[in-house]
């Protein structure tokens, strides 16, 4: 799986949220492949082919990254900083996931180069719709550019 195409990369350390997000994505985008990484460290290792993902073909880049902001140890902003600081990964669109649209982290995420943000609502249907739409938006945007 490590060298397979990954269309959407989800970096999220809450397993419930991750499962629900993946379900929402799969529901609308059957033809795309999804990968879930359980924390910021794994996410970075995957993108840069280090640690657990040593030897992965890093030119095989995800088309869009869904990144949760609040994670243990290495949080979303730190992951975002590294993604945007590297020539290898900085062109990948990043959509950040957050609990509140009022959160100051959203501004910081934009300043660091995030492309969009999704507020995770309590209502699942709403969430599914937003995730699916935004996921597709960035996938399509990427394809038209290529």
């Amino acid at each position: 799986m490590e060298n397979n195409t990954v269309d959407i990369l989800l970096i999220h350390d809450n397993m419930n949220d991750a499962e629900l997000t993946l379900r929402a994505l799969r529901k609308g985008n059957i033809n795309y492949s999804f990968t879930h990484l359980k924390n910021g460290v794994e996410g970075l290792e995957f993108l840069f082919g280090t640690g657990k993902f040593e030897g992965r073909n890093t030119s095989n880049k995800p088309k869009v990254i869904l990144l949760d902001l609040k994670m243990q140890k290495v949080d979303g902003l730190q992951v975002l900083t590294q993604i945007k600081a590297s020539e290898l990964t900085k062109s990948i669109p990043v959509v950040v996931l957050t609990s509140s649209k009022e959160h100051p982290d959203i501004d910081r995420a934009y300043a660091l180069g995030a492309n969009s943000y999704i507020v995770k609502p309590v209502e699942f249907n709403e969430f599914s719709a937003v995730v699916a739409d935004l996921g597709i938006y960035w996938l399509l945007k990427d394809q038209t550019r290529v």
Partner: protein, 343 residues
């Protein structure tokens, strides 16, 4: 001796006598002058004496006055000393009070920071499990709904609607707590335009059949976003609580009164009993059950806080089954003099 000699002697004696008489007269005249002088001097002396007596009396009086003044000065001095000491005490007290204020400010700041991190964890940590409850209940419905009978589906629906409700409560509570910290930017706000915007937003999320009347509403000076919040809340309420009427009518009016702008939003809905009017603006206070009209009980508390932060007032009037009117007032500020931006 002979006659001649005798007459000669007499002549001389006479001359002598005449001379002596003259001298006597001279002396007498001199004495008279001297007497007059004496009398004059005596009078002068008496005058002087009288003057001296007066002067003495004056001196005595002045002495008494001096003593009095001295006594008064003594008292004044004591008073000054006392005041000096009081000042010292006051200064000490002020320094002490200032320290206390600093300490309090520090504690308030700490508390605010605590509250902020609390809000953060409320928004983040409490919502995550709610999302999971709602999400998994939804999956259960989607994937296994066919295995559930009507009652099973109803129960599942209850789980979901309550999770959603709690999410709304958390959101409203967060909005409410944030309002206390946000600064207000004072700008001229076209209330007609704002009402149009609010209504079109409400129409996107709510289906209703209320007739909403307003025209030529007075412009206000305030924070656009916060005032939008106020109108959204009051209009949504008016729509909600009149939704069971056959012909719901909502009116928005404005007027200038005693240096204030007063806006009124009235409906012909279920109204409320004035007995409970004091509960209207409390957090989590509701006058209707969720079964009758859904809601979190935070909306009017938010309105109250926003208007209070704008130096205005909010109040309600109603009668059961005969509609309600909510008023709020804003200072009729002149935009040119709006240097005082409220923080």
């Amino acid at each position: 001796m002979d006659k001649r000699e005798k007459s000669n002697e007499l002549f001389i004696a006479n001359k002598e006598l005449a001379f002596q008489n003259e001298e006597k007269l001279k002396r007498a005249a001199e004495l008279a002058i001297a007497n007059k002088e004496l009398v004059f001097q005596n009078t002068e002396k008496e005058k002087r004496a009288a003057e001296l007596i007066i002067a003495n009396k004056e001196l005595v009086f002045q002495n008494e006055e001096k003593e009095k003044r001295a006594a008064e000065l003594l008292i004044a001095n004591k008073e000054l000393l006392f005041q000096k000491e009081e000042k010292k005490k006051r200064t000490f007290e002020i320094v002490h009070a200032n320290k206390e204020v600093d300490e309090l400010e520090k504690r308030v700041k700490e508390r605010t920071e605590d509250l902020e991190s609390f809000s953060y964890s409320v928004s983040h940590d409490l919502r995550a499990p709610l999302r999971a409850i709602n999400g998994y209940a939804n999956i259960l419905d989607e994937d296994y709904g066919t295995l559930l009978d009507a009652e099973g589906k109803r129960l599942l629906g209850k789980v979901r609607s309550n999770a959603k409700k709690m999410g709304m409560l958390i959101d409203d509570l967060l909005t409410f707590s944030r309002l206390g910290r946000k600064g207000i930017s004072m700008l001229s706000v076209d209330i007609n335009e704002l009402t149009e915007t609010v209504l079109s937003e409400i129409n996107q999320t709510t289906t209703h059949h209320a007739e909403i009347k307003f025209s030529n509403l007075l412009p206000a000076i305030g924070d656009y976003n916060l005032l939008q919040h106020v109108f959204t809340n009051l209009l949504s309420n008016a729509i909600k609580y009149s939704s069971k009427k056959e012909k719901p009518v909502i009116q928005i009016k404005s007027e200038r009164k005693n240096g204030m702008l007063i806006y009124a939003i009235s409906d012909n809905g279920v109204g409320f009993n004035m007995q409970y009017v004091h509960k209207l603006f409390g957090v989590f206070q509701r006058l209707h059950s969720d079964e009758e009209f859904s809601g979190t009980g935070v909306g009017l508390a938010i309105v109250h806080r926003i208007i209070k932060n704008h130096d205005g007032k909010v109040w309600g009037q109603g009668k059961e089954d005969q509609g309600a009117t909510f008023f709020f007032s804003l200072p009729d500020r002149d935009l040119k003099n709006r240097n005082s931006v409220i923080q």
